[in-house]
Symmetry: C2
C-alpha cells in the first residue's frame, strides 16, 4: 500500500463555492522532494498500479461490472496528453480505453450532449480515460455561448444524474482539473512555437481561448461547484510542475483502485479435473 493519502486528500475539492485563484498551481502538496524524486516516485507506483488494474480487468472478464472513469479537464497545455503518456501509460494498455473529445460533429450536435459520452464509457474491467469530456458542454459552451442559458443550466443537473447512474452501475468516476497559471500556459505555448517538432500541437485558436482566461476560470468554478457531488467528486491538480501532476494522478488512480478492494476471481471450474485433462488425456503429448 503505497498510496500517499495526504497528497490525495490535498487534491479533493471541498463542497461549496470554488475559488481557483486561491488554489496554487506551482506547488506540490503532500510530496517532499523535487523533480527527480517525483519521477522516481511515479515510476515506483507502476507495479502496484499494474497489479490492481489487472485484478480489475480479471474481475471484468469474470462477470464483474466495475470499472473506472478518469476525466481529465484543463486549459490548453495543462498536460492532459502528458498525463496520458506518463501516468496512464504505466497501466496495461489492454485494459485502458482513452477517448479524446474534440468539437462535436454535426451528427453529435443533433443528439443530447451526453450521447457521445455514453458511447465512450468503459466496459466492465476497464479504466476509461476522457481527454476532455461532457464538461466541455458547460465550459466552452458557456464561454462561447454555444447553448442558451437555460440549456446550460439544465446540463449541470443532467451531468449529476448521469454520473450518479454511472456510479450506481459500478463505475468509479474520478474527475480532475489540471490547474495551471496563465503565465505557465504562455511559457508552454511559446515553447511550442520555438520547437519545430511541436508546431503540430500549436493552434492559433488556442490564443483566442487564452484571451478568455477569466471567463474560463469562472466557468470552471461554476461547473466544479455544481457537479462536485459525493458520488463523483472533483479534484484540482496543481499542474505547473509536470512531474507533480503525473505523480498526483498516479496516486489518485492507485487510491481509487485500492478502495475497490479488488480480489482475484475464483475459478469457476474444477482445477484438479482440468489438470487431469491436460496431463492424462492430452492427445498432443
Amino acid at each position: 500500500m503505497t498510496v500517499n493519502a495526504e497528497l490525495v486528500a490535498s487534491l479533493r475539492v471541498p463542497p461549496g463555492p470554488v475559488d481557483l485563484t486561491a488554489i496554487k498551481t506551482h506547488v506540490a502538496p503532500g510530496f517532499d522532494g523535487g523533480k527527480e524524486d517525483g519521477k522516481a516516485a511515479l515510476y515506483a507506483l507502476g507495479p502496484e498500479l499494474a497489479d490492481l488494474q489487472e485484478r480489475l480487468f480479471a474481475e471484468g472478464r469474470s462477470g464483474g461490472n466495475r470499472s473506472v472513469l478518469l476525466v481529465l479537464q484543463g486549459m490548453d497545455t495543462s498536460g492532459k496528453g502528458g498525463t496520458l503518456r506518463s501516468t496512464v501509460g504505466l497501466m496495461d494498455p489492454q485494459g485502458v480505453r482513452i477517448t479524446s473529445f474534440k468539437a462535436p460533429t454535426p451528427e453529435e450536435l443533433e443528439q443530447d450532449f451526453l450521447w457521445r459520452i455514453t458511447r465512450a464509457l468503459p466496459e466492465p474491467g476497464y479504466v476509461g480515460v476522457f481527454d476532455r469530456s461532457h464538461y466541455e458542454d458547460v465550459l466552452i459552451a458557456r464561454v462561447r455561448s454555444l447553448a442558451p442559458p437555460e440549456e446550460l443550466e439544465r446540463r449541470y443537473d443532467a451531468i449529476n444524474r448521469f454520473e450518479a447512474d454511472l456510479v450506481a452501475n459500478g463505475t468509479t468516476v474520478v474527475k480532475c482539473m489540471l490547474h495551471i497559471s496563465p503565465e505557465e500556459q504562455k511559457k508552454r505555448l511559446l515553447a511550442r512555437l520555438d520547437d519545430e517538432t511541436k508546431h503540430w500541437k500549436y493552434n492559433p485558436g488556442d490564443v483566442d481561448e487564452r484571451e478568455q482566461w477569466p471567463a474560463y476560470r469562472e466557468a470552471y468554478e461554476i461547473a466544479i461547484e455544481r457537479t462536485n457531488t459525493e458520488a463523483a467528486p472533483w479534484h484540482v491538480v496543481p499542474g505547473d510542475k509536470k512531474w507533480y501532476r503525473n505523480l498526483a494522478i498516479g496516486h489518485l488512480l492507485l487510491d481509487t483502485l485500492h478502495r475497490m478492494a479488488l480480489q482475484w476471481p475464483k475459478a469457476d471450474f474444477d482445477v484438479v479435473e482440468e489438470k487431469r485433462r491436460l496431463t492424462d488425456e492430452d492427445p498432443l503429448s
Copy 2:
C-alpha cells in the same frame, strides 16, 4: 536507426505454401543473446518507437491519412496479451487503439464478417492493434464449421480485397501469427492452473480448442498462404520465448514506422506573428 533488419526479414513468410511444422517456435532468429539481453534490447527500442509514433500521430492531427494496423493472431496462450503489455505498451497510449475481438455477438453475426472489423479500424495517425481479428472467420470458423465451405472460400478473397483497400487508403497492415508449440501451450495452461492469480485467464474451452491443434495448424497454413499478399504480408513470430516474441514485434513496428519516412508537420500558421500575439498583445501579462 536501431531496426534489426535480419531479425525482421526472418519473420516474413515467403510466398507459396506454408508449413508451420517447419518453422521453429523456440528459436530467436536474428538475435544473439539471452533473455536479459532481449529484455534490455526491447526497452532500448522504446524512445525511437515513441518518437516515430508521435510523428505519425502529429501527421494524423495535421491532415495526414496514414495509420498502422497490427494484427495479432495465435493459439490460446501464444502471448497476444503479453505483446500488448510489453511491446505495444512502449508507445504513447494516446495514439494506440486496441480492439480485442471475441466471439461475434448476434448483432455482429447478422452482418458481413468484416462489418465489426471496419468499425474498429485505426483513424489517421493511430496505431491500431487487433487482438484476434477477421482471421478468426477463416480459422475457428473453418475448424468448427461455423460457415459453409463456399462462404469460407469467399472470405479469403474478401480479406485480400479489404486489406488492399486499407493499404491503398493509407493504413500499413502488419500481420503476425504468434507461433508456439503444443508443448509450450500445455506448460502455459498448467502454469495458469497452478497460480490462483491466473485462474481468470483459464477457460476449459481452451482445452477443447487445443484438441483441434492439427486442424488449427492447417487452417492457419491455408489462411496465411491465401492472404500473404504483397500489400499485407504475413509474419510468423517464434513465440515459445516470450522475450523474443516481444522484441521481434518491437522491431517489426519500428521497421514499419521507419519505412513510412515520417516527418514533423510544417506549421500552417505564421510562427513569428503568433509569438508576437503571445508577447506583445497578451492581455494576461
